[in-house]
């Protein structure tokens, strides 16, 4: 199965980002394909490399970057939602890129299933 993933909430504030990460890692382990993870609303904050959680906590931003590096996953941040929240190229963690909503629509079209994480 080809999946398109949408993350609608920011890291730490909400479990959506954790659930999406768990879903993606397990889907990949089962041999599925993840076409893209698209970050919208406060979800764009998952891309902020300035995030500095305490040492004994999971590092959500780094974890996404590592996932992208290890599996060539496309992590796309919505440009409009990002601008509003200060997520621009200067603060983008490795593996993330900024693009438009069209990237979300494209992955929904190409995927067999779109899974949204949020409320």
């Amino acid at each position: 199965m080809k999946f398109a993933i949408v993350v609608n909430e920011g890291p730490y504030n909400h479990q959506a980002s954790d659930s999406a990460y768990q879903f993606v890692t397990h889907a990949l382990a089962k041999g599925h394909e993840v076409l893209r993870v698209f970050f919208y609303y406060d979800g764009v904050l998952n891309a902020n490399k300035l995030s500095a959680p305490q040492a004994d906590d999971r590092n959500i931003v780094k974890r996404w970057s590592q996932l992208a590096q290890d599996n060539q996953i496309d992590l796309t941040v919505c440009v409009a939602a990002g601008l509003r929240r200060g997520i621009i190229d200067d603060v983008l963690a490795p593996g993330f890129r900024i693009a438009g909503i069209g990237q979300l629509i494209d992955s929904c079209i190409d995927a067999g299933r779109t899974v949204v994480f949020g409320d």
């Binding site: 919208y40 909503i101 069209g102 979300l104 779109t114 949204v116 949020g118």
Partner: protein, 130 residues
């Protein structure tokens, strides 16, 4: 899940449903879903929009947002038709629970009951909610 259709020139058209469940103000979801729909409308997909739960308030006429220092984007829903977005659905029970009637709304929309709403969702290829 319905089958996506493919046109002669190889373009795939899917049935997209945008689900609005949140009040227009208090959180940014309503505004950002609307922004998403307006962009998505350019992609030649079969776009549907649903309003349920507090989402039905998004279409309320006479929103007075000045004191909230929020943009009154309710007028933008009227532009949806110009963007080719005409399949708009409101959940009957959500309307009734909140004392709203079709006369209270900024645009006309088909009112369907909760069971029909689940059937609508079932018939979609992609459901994007907020």
């Amino acid at each position: 899940m319905s089958d996506a259709t493919e046109t002669a020139d190889g373009l795939v058209t899917k049935r997209f449903l945008y689900v609005n469940r949140k009040a227009p103000h208090g959180t940014v979801y309503a505004l950002e879903v609307l922004e998403m729909i307006l962009v998505a409308a350019m992609y030649e997909q079969d776009v549907h929009v649903a309003f349920l739960d507090d989402g039905v308030f998004q279409l309320r006429k006479n929103q007075a947002t000045e004191e909230l220092e929020m943009k009154d984007f309710s007028k933008t829903y009227r532009a949806l038709e110009d963007y080719g977005v005409e399949k708009i659905f409101l959940e009957k029970e959500s309307m009734e629970e909140r004392g709203l009637t079709p006369d209270d709304l900024v645009i006309p929309a088909a009112t369907i009951d909760r069971k029909q709403m689940t059937e609508l969702m079932d018939s979609m290829d992609v459901v994007l909610s907020a």
